[in-house]
Subunit: 335 residues, 2 copies
Amino acid sequence: MTESRPYERIPRQHAADIATKILGGAGYSQAHVEVMARNMVEAQAQECHSHGLYRLVSCSTVAESGLVNLTATPEVTDRAPGVVAVDAKGGNSLLAFQAGVGQLVEKARASGIAALAVNDCFHYSALWWEVEQLSAQGLVALAMTPTHPYVAPFGGTQPLLGTNPLAFSWPRPDGEPYTFDFATSAVARGEVELRSRQGEALPEEWAIDDAGQPTTDSTKALAGALLPFGRHKGSAISTMVELMAGPLIGDLLSCQTAEPGSSARKGVQHGELVIAIDPGRFGVSLETAERLFEEISDQGARLPSERRRAAKREAAKAGLLVASHLLADLERRAA
Amino acid sequence: MTESRPYERIPRQHAADIATKILGGAGYSQAHVEVMARNMVEAQAQECHSHGLYRLVSCSTVAESGLVNLTATPEVTDRAPGVVAVDAKGGNSLLAFQAGVGQLVEKARASGIAALAVNDCFHYSALWWEVEQLSAQGLVALAMTPTHPYVAPFGGTQPLLGTNPLAFSWPRPDGEPYTFDFATSAVARGEVELRSRQGEALPEEWAIDDAGQPTTDSTKALAGALLPFGRHKGSAISTMVELMAGPLIGDLLSCQTAEPGSSARKGVQHGELVIAIDPGRFGVSLETAERLFEEISDQGARLPSERRRAAKREAAKAGLLVASHLLADLERRAA
């Protein structure tokens, strides 16, 4: 991120007002507007700029495209003692998650472990939002979702896998949970786009060109494919995300969300899988886990999400940090 | 592996006889001998040399040390509708897994998702052995276990994490499952030991020295720590293995299995977590998954475990491939 982008701080309520107006104006139903606005404002507060108010732009664009069901009412099905499924009916994933999370928590507490499958959803949001709702209730949570075919499998030559994020959250007795949430690609596609615009090169092992050859040329990379993080091991984890949040739940692979000849509507929707575990049914020793976190910090290494926590604390005092050019654009749209 | 090591092929029964004699001679009870021998012979047949008959040596050594309960009878506890726990009582993990896997399968079929926690076990074996028993019954399976502190967290300076393997198996309608199984360290510790003996350098990003600095010197790496695969993302996955197969199930972190001042007995045992999912309770479309595997193969990329499959087929025809020097040593021990 070498662009010079001045930022300013705004009150949380102002951010919420902008989000509500833009999403409502785009045609999302009140129920969708509410949860999407809450999600984007919180992401902005935690300085996840790529999943914050910036998403108002893409959520408006996709609304105009007609590819998303803006007024979908998710339908919850109790599939098994440990499985709840929510059909998002082509709508945004957040309302579908919200519709199913209560049953997921109940099932996890009753059975020890349970899963929530969300089908046919448009998914723009970071997964920490969901796993942290579960760890806030004392559960261990995992979430994963395929995306669209941007990533070649390790040793392959063509885009096939999604950027396939994986998130994990672990409740800590005092305060914030231990959470990680990352794409299983070597890097976010947005980072490559940014470097391409600026004529900057990429590090090795981020991407291949359209002939399947390794490249450090960011523009050639966009015509080719990203690579998974961590070579064959990261590639394997990415396939696990594809399989568990795709075929396992009767939903699509990343490569099926954008394949030639598929219906337009299948262009943006796919599935998501969330697993919740109740430590109380396992014999947990939470103090033992604290030792791991302490040792990592003592070595001077960062715990994942530390940057988000610091941003959140600062936002609570000083307001939400927003890029000025984005804010100007959003205020115009909201007016 | 640059050593010249001539190999020969032996009948499966000869391998089983050697394993049975050595393990029985070392004092393992009949129940342990049976499952351990079966496991090592199959690993040898699949040319997992590091988890095959070679382990007869370390399982004998650890038996002599008195650190493992050689005659432990695992105790199974039904903890919740979706959770079965097995106390290995300081014995080998395989018999404990075997004692609990039936209930795990029943619970997964009844609830859709279930977990098996194995506590206080000595664990030498590859995890594919376990997850493939579940995928053979049509279940999707995940397994993970901490080990001992050989790996520094990303950004850290000291060994803390285990090599923390993670395995996943997915049933395929025709034939062998899709399975991956790997350490979350950049490389196996054995590979670094081998290179150190041979005075060979390591690639970048495999290890740090005892001052916490990156090193390509294999001997300095042994005095320092391995690094996780895939930088901060692999490190995060390694912590997930620590937490889920450690504190979640009331068992140890890798760093607690070898800490100064702990009782000697805690030097080799830790926990393991296995999760099984019944696709039938989710709405699975197995054909969709096949498309993923076909696309990977069509790109010329290898599916994980392909080498094992080929070795297995060859072993069925021609016998098990064993390093001649190892075979000679084992035949001496068995005599």
